[in-house]
Symmetry: D2
Subunit: 349 residues, 4 copies
């Protein structure tokens, strides 16, 4: 079997570590160079002790020359760093960016939320995303050589709400989303509020009032699904767990729509999808059930007394929300079966 080599730039962070974890389980991809910035020179066994089979690999400095020797380059870098690096990689190399640099199609939105110059956009790596024109995002990904992997919140929220918007059973106006994330979503940077003693036993919000950088990305996805601009209130919260996102997403019910029609929109959207699962009626998603897995678990309820639909999605922010999504896109780019090598079972309890 042909094996494709994959370099991971930014391998010392949580996203990079998860890409490596998944590569070790992928039958047609091999781990190539692993690179880092300030951690260059360290053993992977020191940085990611859970990656036992790679313990003796050493992190190398990130250079375009080194990366260019691979079939695939996964970038797991701070925002702003991907654009310059990607420009120096061959057009024939598959470059999959886990950062934000190429996600937004609207330069003005980029500039409101980020402090580096707008770099343009790449095909958006959320294959299952329904769009108003009846296509899915995956149609842009087969054979692509540049892919922008979504953020973790956008993965959960977009997949949760898009079917109802695309089907017209909910209104694009006045979407309200509150999501809880495990603390690995905040990265490995040393910040006082991320210390274990601060986060254990505590819930707290951040980026309230529309300030979180994932807000325009979610709106972009949902507008594509609705075929019209959406209005979205998005509040993220930090939860005392290492991994997982639970997104509670509500939208106004379109007048005259029945609960059965609502549910059917999600059934239709995902019954053929391998990684997105609408649970049986009455069962609600738990983040623990997707830990380490590329699945999205969903449930939908209609609150007729107030005219709102509530959709709850659970994903692992590092797997489907980042690294699993990246390899799913890599599969599409390389012409492999989309599900190849991706975990479909959570590690619970």
């Amino acid at each position: 079997m042909h094996m494709w080599s994959v370099a991971v730039a930014g391998a010392s962070g949580y996203a990079g570590g998860e890409v490596l974890r998944l590569l070790l389980g992928h039958p047609e991809l091999t781990v190539g160079a692993v690179t880092a910035d300030s951690s260059a020179g360290r053993r992977l066994g020191d940085v990611h002790p859970h990656l036992v089979p790679l313990a003796d690999r050493v992190l190398e400095p990130t250079t375009p020359e080194l990366l260019a020797r691979h079939d695939v380059v996964v970038l797991a870098l701070p925002h702003g760093a991907s654009a310059a690096l990607a420009a120096q990689l061959p057009h024939t190399t598959v470059v999959v960016d886990c950062g934000a640099d190429f996600r937004l199609t609207d330069g003005a939105a980029w500039e409101r939320f980020y402090d580096t110059p707008y770099a343009g956009s790449w095909p958006y790596g959320l294959p299952e995303l329904p769009r108003a024109d009846g296509t899915r995002a995956r149609h842009d990904l087969a054979g692509a050589r540049r892919i922008a992997v979504p953020g973790c919140y956008p993965t959960a929220v977009s997949l949760a709400l898009a079917p109802g918007l695309a089907a017209g059973v909910v209104s694009p106006q006045d979407l309200v989303v509150v999501a809880a994330s495990g603390t690995s979503g905040a990265g490995k940077g040393l910040k006082p509020h991320l210390l274990g003693a601060e986060v254990m036993g505590s819930m707290s919000p951040y980026g309230v009032g529309g300030g979180h950088r994932h807000t325009p990305e979610i709106a972009q996805n949902l507008s594509a699904a609705a075929g019209a601009p959406v209005s979205l209130s998005f509040t993220p919260t930090l939860a005392p767990m290492p991994r997982g996102i639970l997104a509670t997403c509500t939208a106004r019910l379109t007048a005259g729509t029945t609960p059965d029609e609502v549910r059917q929109a999600w059934v239709d959207a995902y019954e053929a999808e391998p990684f997105v699962h609408l649970l049986p009626p009455g069962q609600w998603p738990r983040t623990a059930d997707v830990v380490g897995s590329n699945h999205v678990l969903l449930q939908v309820a209609v609150d007729e007394s107030v005219g709102r639909v509530v959709v709850v999605a659970a994903v692992d922010n590092l797997t489907k929300g980042t690294a699993g999504g990246a390899l799913q896109c890599t599969n599409l780019a390389l012409g492999l079966a989309e599900t190849t090598g991706l975990p479909t079972v959570g590690v619970a309890p």
Copy 2:
């Protein structure tokens, strides 16, 4: 100093244990009888080992005769049990019910959500709650002999949203609330989904779509604040922490209202309140900071781009959300200073 004796019925549960913890720190109340049902006969040291000074007290069976020998009776019983018991206690005894039996003023709402007969309503024990008529709920509590203490979610959500509704800066229509609770909020009953191995590392929703019993209670409070019926979507979630509620509450901004006017509504409502604190701009509440304390921490943001106000409240579900609220009401009923003996400092980290 005169000491008032307090009996605690249902002392084996989490709410009862927290009432006892707070009574031990109250300078004018003493712990009287501690009663239970299936745990009668057990040492408190076995049931609540953290209550070291009461370790050798023994739980007695719950009888009206025993309870009636006290100045105050706090009921911490499953819903439906308080009504029968309260009917057998003297009218002159202060009876403070931590259960749901006497919270709802609308019998029809009770019957939609509970399976026991409607028992009527008592003065509602959330002293700070602003009402449309300009009074606070505390006006009904001074000298009261029957008080219905709010549920934990209603405490957090009602105090979060009521100021804006009372001031007219947000609309009573289309309120959307998502709240996360520590697992002690689900009580001490043995249910598989409450096992430690299930809850650690996991977030999950429940009672989605308007089904949670606290929904009508919150709506009742907010309607009283707005002076008009509210429409509320309420989704509770279970978070991997023992204590605490983080309520993220959003409401539509009234047309023409400025962010300063919005903030001022909350400043005006709570600047004189000892237990409800609007944080300085930019600081957001964390549940860890109210653990063991009777405080409510609040913050407000206006998301002008979507026309919504977001209010986040943190409370300890067992302290301000139950037992602290109960003793605050007891203070009012007995004519003591409202803050007497109540903790105002959280145990963090």
Copy 3:
């Protein structure tokens, strides 16, 4: 490729669920019947929502007839239940017992710690265990048709201490072990002290003073390694995490032994082992790094000032400590490569 069918009896518990999780990743084993007692008739999707690919399978009642239709039967039952069932299964069926019934070779030890009749012993399923005669436990497992999988604590502690005992660098007298376990190790039974609100934020010991049932099993293993009876103080503790065991094991240094000789004993024992890893000097095991993995991480230190060796081992109690060990033994029994299908990467952070 030939696929072997595996029935799992007791599939509703944590051990059974983990066996199923690992079977889904095994290339030569297929999931056959999944059986339970009180949960028979339930969907696996309700009981183990993380096992998405098996969600629609239904738990069947446990009967020998059903189990006997498989190549392999894994028993994940309460102690005492395996013996009767195993007696009704064909001698040619591979029966792997995750329970305690057949672990102890000393009937008197069994009777001191268990309340069911002694049923005899089977080959002991800890392949890597060094023994005083120079063999490993795996020598009894190739082609075996009955295998007793070790308990989770015995896996960690025995592998931690056996090399030093077999090599004579530590004394079999006065071993002292303190181990911390995640709460899934206590099973899925509904006990008050296992509620999330009780375990989060808390450490507590149990079975102190030699009373834990794993004590004689550990002693049996270590005596086999030492070639002489050992004396062992073993204290287990419950830690606020779902999975994982951290065993801190100390033994008296044999007079005249150097630190290098001590370390060499562990190097020699495990350098060829695929699942047991002595970390580089200075790095200590963390349980998070083996979550979901079949690895054991070890480190050894010599405290010369007090004449003790300290060995720390981290394992996942459900993977290497139960289900992973069971499939590793199944591989040996069936003549497959010992490592086939077993995860070697932890899910961290």
Copy 4:
């Protein structure tokens, strides 16, 4: 009532924050200056949001002039910083050091474990500690003007083992201790291994093999209790909880001693102590039960088959293990009742 003013130097850390929390509940001590180094100028409300009543206080730079204006100065500084500062404070000021600088009486031991010059020793602030001469450590504390508060591990371990050593029922040779600490014990410094994503769900050891700085301090205390040098193997571990220490301490039983004699040693030592509690037989300490409290919970078991006594102690590392101990000593220094203002009830669940 006379109020004593207390300055807290190093008020931005966890120990300093806990001193402030306890001062707010003390009836005869008032919060004076709160000082810090790099955090000087910040609002306490930003640094310790749980200390609501002090939210608007501002951290000042630490200077001897400022501190000297108080009756009491509590130092909560990194080791090495206390000595220079203390030398500039009046001899009449009560100075209570939560750091290590003045704990060790043996300069050589200091120099093996610390990298700053030996500064001498002060009376040791563990009032209940039994000593071989029949006195308690509190005899040196009444009226003292300089007090060295113990480390958190030494508090738990010394109180656990000292009674048996003082009574001669266990041997001073070959003590083996394994202790688990909440992560606040590691302080508020920004270290990668203390990030929430790293510590949640994980147990790990550190300072193994005698390297932890608390080792000589524990040995000093236990030698004083035994009246002879002890030999101690001490292994600390980091547990996924914010607060609490669970110390599992074992010692060899003195030949000919009965289990009743063993238990009696602990009964005698602590039956008159207000903060140290031997639990009823069969009940084991949990760290959750001492959160926020100045109590120590203990239990003792004799494992006759191996000739070891196992003593388990639970303390809150920040309360009795640091700040509570500091105020208990302050009470003694000022001639107040030793228990004044100290919490005796844990915040559980």
